[in-house]
């Protein structure tokens, strides 16, 4: 079946604008994760959703970042008033559940460039 998809693949935006990044998880995967990877750095956990439970937002770097998920489907990561330090690749992953966290399937990512 189809893997995790993300859109757009690349996004260039001006500082101060808002952006929305989209993630479509694998059908049937109840857990969804967002990560950020800055150039030359490791993956930074941002947020995860498990079913209809309240998301774990502990990794969000500031209140300019928010994420939503509709049921067990699409998720959007919104960054308001973008800053240059937000430039990174944003990766989404999904798994059958957080008990299967080791079987995360990653999307291709969205490369965000803030000018």
């Amino acid at each position: 079946g189809a893997g995790v998809s993300q859109s757009p693949s690349n996004k260039v935006t001006e500082k101060g604008k808002d952006v929305e990044l989209r993630c479509d998880p694998i059908s049937g995967h109840t857990a969804l994760y967002w990560y950020r990877q800055r150039l030359g750095q490791g993956l930074e956990f941002l947020i995860y959703f498990q079913g209809n439970s309240a998301p774990d937002k502990s990794g969000l770097p500031s209140d300019r970042f928010s994420a939503e998920r509709t049921g067990e489907s699409v998720s959007t990561l919104t960054i308001q008033r973008t800053q240059q330090e937000d430039s990174a690749v944003y990766l989404c992953a999904s798994s059958r559940g957080t008990s299967a966290i080791y079987e995360q399937y990653f999307g291709p990512g969205t490369r965000l460039t803030v000018t």
């Binding site: 750095q41 490791g42 993956l43 930074e44 498990q50 774990d56 990766l91 957080t98 080791y102 995360q104």
Partner: protein, 109 residues
């Protein structure tokens, strides 16, 4: 604070060389350690290690975990240019993955 440290940060070798990548960790509620290969954007899964001393092997790649000393190594023998990538180590804590910064491997022809 949970952390995963990888070394070296980058490495350049010639085709045919053998390389060893290192990963040490301090993570509460350790469950497993994972290795990923990242070539463009999305990392691809290589190994999951849960028990000490049991080598996992896939072709020219192998990995082993030492839970007493809190580290793992990833070995690649007879390297090829297609092995050039960032190799990420991640540790599963309580319902969360903690990633290292990765080792950037470049295999020159």
């Amino acid at each position: 604070e949970d952390k995963v440290v990888q070394s070296p940060l980058s490495l350049v070798v010639h085709e045919g060389d053998t390389v060893t990548l290192n990963c040490s960790y301090e993570v509460t509620n350790f469950r497993s350690l994972l290795w990923y290969k990242q070539e463009k954007k999305a990392p691809t899964f290589l190994f999951m290690l849960t028990s000490s001393g049991i080598e996992k092997k896939s072709g020219r790649l192998s990995s082993i975990l030492d839970k007493k000393e809190l580290f793992s190594i990833l070995n690649i023998t007879a390297t090829q240019t297609g092995d050039s990538a960032i190799y990420l180590c991640a540790v599963i804590g309580f319902q969360k993955l903690v990633f290292g910064t990765g080792t950037r491997l470049l295999v020159s022809p």
